[in-house]
Symmetry: C2
Subunit: 314 residues, 2 copies
């Protein structure tokens, strides 16, 4: 049976992807130790990428990245992990010479303001963060390595994932999840931007769906342009809050405290608000149905979780 | 007096730029030995970029590159020189911590088909060559390094330079110059593509003008988007030949032999044909007036060259 390599398997999306791939023979990698790890190593260190490819996995998910806030705060670390790590992985794949399918998680951070009303499939990548720059370079390398026949790559630009479960990470986009997640958990959330701010979202479930679909599509349909903006839901913060009210009631929606933060506001102003993701839709990628659905998915997948069935207890 | 560094000073554009900068205190670099060289070294070798910056040149022209045909034929060399060389230069500039103006010659090869009627300033970089990929990555790095305050960068996407003097280089675009240059020199030229092929041109004189203008402009006007498609002349091969006929007569224009080459045709099909270079025009970059003028500039600058005045002979 052919193997599947998941790089960044300990991350939020990585863990959910691994669950969805439970029937496959997996090689799981991350830089931090985690349950189920096959390799724990720094992908940007010389020789490490080669080790991951020793069994020639036919399918590789490359999810590993330092998030936007951290890549902005630590220039060297961001470039080392997000750019050099990707370069080393692609170079190692080329050296192995077996043309695996590579699914690379890019980001809408490859786009920078000023924006058109909706970003179409021909809009330029002019990122306004180091993270976005590193992802845009990863996309270019993936295209060139695919064109040259070294890999069969698909880059998918994920919307901001919402509702992100667990604790906030260092991403400046954290509040978009926080204002849903915290109130649902009975806690107060801080909203640092005006309610008129519009952004582009997908649930973790939709994101895993994108990854699995990218692993299966006929890349002949992609032509030379192997990086795709994923479909999503465009919603203002006001629409997010209204959806929360509809799904969970007034009392929950009132647990949001307005506390403007000029730094976060300025960062968010440079972010995409809306897309016209025609290519991805035509290729069969499917977004969530509504922001209310995004909230319901969070409740189903995170808050109403049934305990894992134990073997032998059926 | 502040110094100016020219990297790639032995190349065709480099030599003309150095002539135009004759009044400045220059540091001239190339990988091949040449008259006037300050440094001859491999920019992609560790430690070499640092040496070029020792005197902290306030203005840096980075023209050094392996051309498109060679970057396609030799994957490793193209990435080493065009990407790693640029990365090392930018990293060394960051380390020096003095924010020089950096003028980077990018290329219309950052764009790949399918194209709109004319490529505007918001069209995506989806290159179809490794050379175009390397230039597109250089652009992204230049933007991010400028945004972070490590340099004050301007990337200029040069049209195909025509008429390129001297012998053909390894660029697949060589025939666009050859069909003008060779007939004017009394020699037969080979045309490997149909006369309907349309392409985007600037004279060497215009290219040097772009470089000098990029060194002087107020980069505050650029905002975050520091890479600009230069203006040029859009002409079909038929229009090129007609211009040659007008400038030099029927007999000269008849020295072109049609010899279709499927490989070159296929490469050229992926190349830009026409631009709407509004931003560059608004910033004061100026193209040649017509393709006839491009031919006249070649005749003036290359074929009617007066001998250099010798000191003491005035």
């Amino acid at each position: 049976m052919s193997k599947t390599l998941v790089i960044g398997a300990a991350g939020m999306i990585g863990r959910k992807l691994v669950q969805a791939l439970a029937q496959e023979e997996l090689i799981q990698h991350d830089v931090v130790p985690f349950t189920g790890a096959s390799f724990v190593s720094d992908l940007s260190a010389p020789g490490e990428a080669e080790k991951l490819l020793a069994s020639r996995p036919q399918l590789i998910f490359h999810l590993a990245a330092v998030v936007s806030g951290e890549a902005e705060a630590d220039f060297d670390k961001g470039y080392r992990v997000n750019l050099e790590g990707t370069q080393r992985l692609f170079a190692a794949i080329r050296k192995e010479n077996y043309r695996p399918r590579v699914v690379f998680t890019s980001s809408i951070a490859v786009f920078g303001a000023p924006f058109p009303e909706a970003i179409d499939d021909e809009f330029l990548s002019a990122p306004l963060t180091s993270y976005g720059t590193q992802k845009a370079i990863g996309e270019l390398l993936l295209s060139d390595y695919s064109r040259r026949g070294f890999m069969d790559g698909v880059g998918i630009r994920l919307p901001t994932i919402c509702v992100r479960p667990g604790k906030p990470n260092k991403a400046a986009s954290g509040f978009f999840s926080g204002i849903i997640r915290e109130p649902l958990a009975g806690q107060e959330a801080v909203l640092p931007v005006p309610e008129t701010v519009r952004h582009w979202f997908a649930s973790p479930r939709a994101a895993v769906g994108f990854l699995l679909h990218a692993a299966r599509i006929d890349t002949g349909q992609l032509g030379a342009r192997r990086n795709l903006s994923m479909p999503g839901i465009s919603a203002t913060v006001a629409e997010q809050i209204e959806a929360l009210r509809k799904v969970a009631g007034d009392k929950v929606a009132q647990r949001i405290r307005r506390e403007p933060d000029a730094t976060i506001q300025r960062i968010v102003e440079g972010w995409p608000r809306n897309f016209d993701a025609q290519r991805a839709l035509a290729l069969g990628f499917r977004a969530d149905a509504s922001f209310e659905d995004i909230i319901r998915i969070h409740i189903e997948d995170e808050l109403q979780k049934k305990p894992e069935p134990r073997p032998g207890c059926a």
